[in-house]
């Protein structure tokens, strides 16, 4: 679903917009892929290797609980990464194009 090259009638603005759109889609899809790997990694471990996740690391803490909490933390970090990128890189570009 990649953005196709700018149409022939496109002027510079349209081309800049296409570049920006492609850039955001790339960031979005990359982060989506990371989230998918993190989440399905966790789910597949549950599905295929229950005994591994049941291993007790220290009193009261199993590997499963540790990984579960880490998935929640990863979700937070992954949203912060996108918001940081959007505020730092994407928004200034949008403001420039709006003018």
């Amino acid at each position: 679903m990649a953005t196709e090259p700018a149409p022939p009638e496109g002027d510079d603005d349209v081309r800049a917009l296409d570049v920006l759109a492609a850039k955001r889609l790339k960031v979005g899809l990359t982060l989506t892929a990371v989230m998918l790997v993190v989440y399905f990694g966790f789910i597949l471990l549950i599905a295929f290797d229950k005994s591994l996740l049941a291993r007790i690391l220290t009193d009261g803490l199993s590997l499963g609980i540790l990984l579960g909490v880490l998935v929640v933390l990863a979700t937070w970090v992954l949203t912060w990464i996108y918001v940081g990128w959007a505020n730092r890189v994407y928004e200034p570009e949008v403001r420039r194009l709006r003018r």
């Binding site: 549950i46 009261g60 803490l61 499963g64 929640v72 949203t79």
Partner: protein
């Protein structure tokens, strides 16, 4: 401890319950004066900030099912309860990365606005209304039936009366205050629920040196080491796990009542920050719920929990009673009621918007309805959806509706999400591609779940089912993408391709907005 207290509420619990109804009605009265246009009715006049919308979105997810249900799952099965909550959480980054900002900039009140932006209106709107209504109705049935049983359990009210109270308060709230009232009730409830759950969790941890590991360790000592590792309660087969994961992860991005919330904020930046806040609150809430579940397991005890209700749903209220006595139980019970009210209101509004905005205004009236008519039709559709919710809730008393939330997520992930994604990002997507994708997603999800163990084994008590997966998303979502892509490639639509530039500009730069006719007063003095 007097366990019978659940279901035989004292005066205090009933006062909390009535107090919340009064507050909700007060908000409706206040919001009614701010609800004079269709934009205010459907989209709260874009007056909600990113932070507030984050709380409201989180509120939509902190439903009675997730608060009471997941705490109960954890209390009875330990670790397995965490699997569901993580599934509900991980959909949010996807909404953030791919959907929230384009949706806010391209649409008006419904997600169909976005899908239909470049297309011929009638076919796309009809298909999208089917996608919306099927998700909303299954979700709503699950909530209404759950509401009836829960209120019956907690306040000792008759089931039908409980459904009727929820329905009537909800309809009043919506008719008077539309999205503004719904959003503020949702925000207040989210704060009460997060605050109440947090107090309960800290109280629980205070009995364990403020160390969660001490709590888990005690739970493992008393109930066996299995509670700390995965069992077979939530995830059974491996493909089942993947299919459920897909439905939960991509379903969020296709839930009409969630998508509609992005129109309540002023711009795409606020939409972005609202998902950021929502993800934070929901993640925190599920971590807290995990503590509550283990707390109930050790402090109340599994037997005591299943004695009150076999499904474990009363684990969190019982923990509140154990720690804080009757007043805290009354507070938590009233918050559970508030939760149900706010979630069904959001769902009903999303369903009403599909009927009035998508079907009446854009199909029947070809988008040319005057403002006053739009608002009137919106209210009539709300009344209709609300009455339908009450009727379905009462008619399905005692039925096994637990599968309906999973089904709603599967339809959302299959019928709504692929069409939305392709409409936003794929130049060659066409009218008939969108129609094919939505209908294929909705129909395949429905048919597959009908022939799956979820219906055949769990509901009809058959020995086995034709289709092996409990949740159809693993098959139905790829089918919807395939249908959308193939049909779009066959039915090339130059108009839709040409308008892609316009859509792209609006997605990134925002709509060239006409000056607001009359400046609406700020919603609260505290607003920015």
């Amino acid at each position: 401890m007097n366990l019978a207290a659940v279901g035989e509420p004292d005066a205090l619990a009933i006062s909390f319950f009535i107090l919340f109804i009064v507050v909700a009605l007060g908000i409706s009265y206040w919001a009614a004066r701010r609800t004079r246009t269709a934009e205010q009715f459907y989209a709260a006049g874009h007056s909600i900030t990113g932070f507030q919308n984050g709380l409201a979105l989180a509120g939509d997810y902190m439903s009675a099912a997730s608060f009471l249900g997941i705490a109960g799952l954890v209390a009875l099965y330990g670790f397995d309860g965490l699997i569901y909550s993580i599934g509900f959480l991980v959909g949010w980054p996807i909404v953030l990365y791919l959907i929230a900002e384009p949706l806010r900039n391209l649409g008006k009140y419904t997600f169909a606005d976005v899908v239909a932006f470049r297309m011929r209106q009638t076919p796309v709107r009809l298909a999208a209304a089917i996608g919306t209504l099927s998700v909303v109705i299954f979700y709503l049935i699950a909530q209404m039936v759950g509401a009836g049983s829960l209120i019956k359990l907690m306040f000792g009210l008759d089931y039908a009366l409980a459904v009727l109270i929820v329905g009537v308060v909800m309809i009043t709230l919506l008719l008077l205050g539309g999205m503004i009232a719904t959003t503020w009730v949702q925000i207040i409830k989210a704060v009460l629920l997060l605050g109440g759950a947090l107090v309960l969790a800290i109280w629980t941890l205070s009995k364990f040196n403020f160390n969660p590991l001490d709590l888990f360790d005690r739970a493992a000592d008393e109930n066996g080491k299995e509670v700390l590792g995965p069992g077979d309660k939530v995830v059974t087969g491996s493909w089942d796990a993947v299919s459920l994961g897909i439905a939960l992860m991509f379903g969020t991005a296709g839930l009409p009542h969630i998508l509609m919330r992005f129109y309540t904020v002023p711009d795409s930046q606020a939409a972005r920050s609202s998902v950021n806040w929502a993800t934070f609150f929901i993640g925190a809430f599920y971590l807290i719920t995990f503590i509550l579940g283990f707390g109930a397991m050790t402090l109340v005890g599994q037997e005591a929990i299943t004695d009150v209700e076999a499904g474990g749903n009363m684990a969190a209220p019982l923990l509140a009673q154990e720690l804080g006595g009757q007043p805290f139980l009354g507070f938590i019970a009233a918050v559970a009621f508030a939760t149900i009210l706010a979630v069904v209101a959001g769902l009903t509004l999303a369903g009403a918007a599909a009927l009035s905005h998508d079907l009446w205004v854009n199909v029947v009236r070809s988008g040319e309805a005057p403002e006053r008519e739009q608002l009137r039709v919106a209210r009539i559709a709300t009344l209709f959806m609300g009455a339908a919710a009450i009727a379905l809730g009462i008619a399905l008393e005692g039925q096994n509706v637990a599968f309906m939330v999973g089904l709603a997520f599967a339809i959302a992930a299959s019928a709504n999400f692929p069409a939305l994604l392709m409409a936003i990002f794929w130049r060659r997507f066409t009218t008939w591609g969108a129609v094919a994708s939505i209908l294929t997603g909705a129909i395949s999800a429905l048919v597959l779940i009908y022939i799956s163990p979820t219906i055949q084994v769990d509901v009809f008590d058959k020995a086995e089912a034709v289709f092996p997966l409990k949740n159809p998303a693993l098959i139905s979502m790829p089918l919807a993408f395939a249908a959308g892509i193939i049909v779009s490639l066959v039915t090339r639509e130059r108009d839709a391709e040409r308008k892609f530039i316009e859509a792209e500009r609006q997605i990134h730069l925002g709509a060239a907005r006409p000056p607001t006719p009359e400046p609406t007063p700020p919603v609260l003095p505290a607003d920015r």
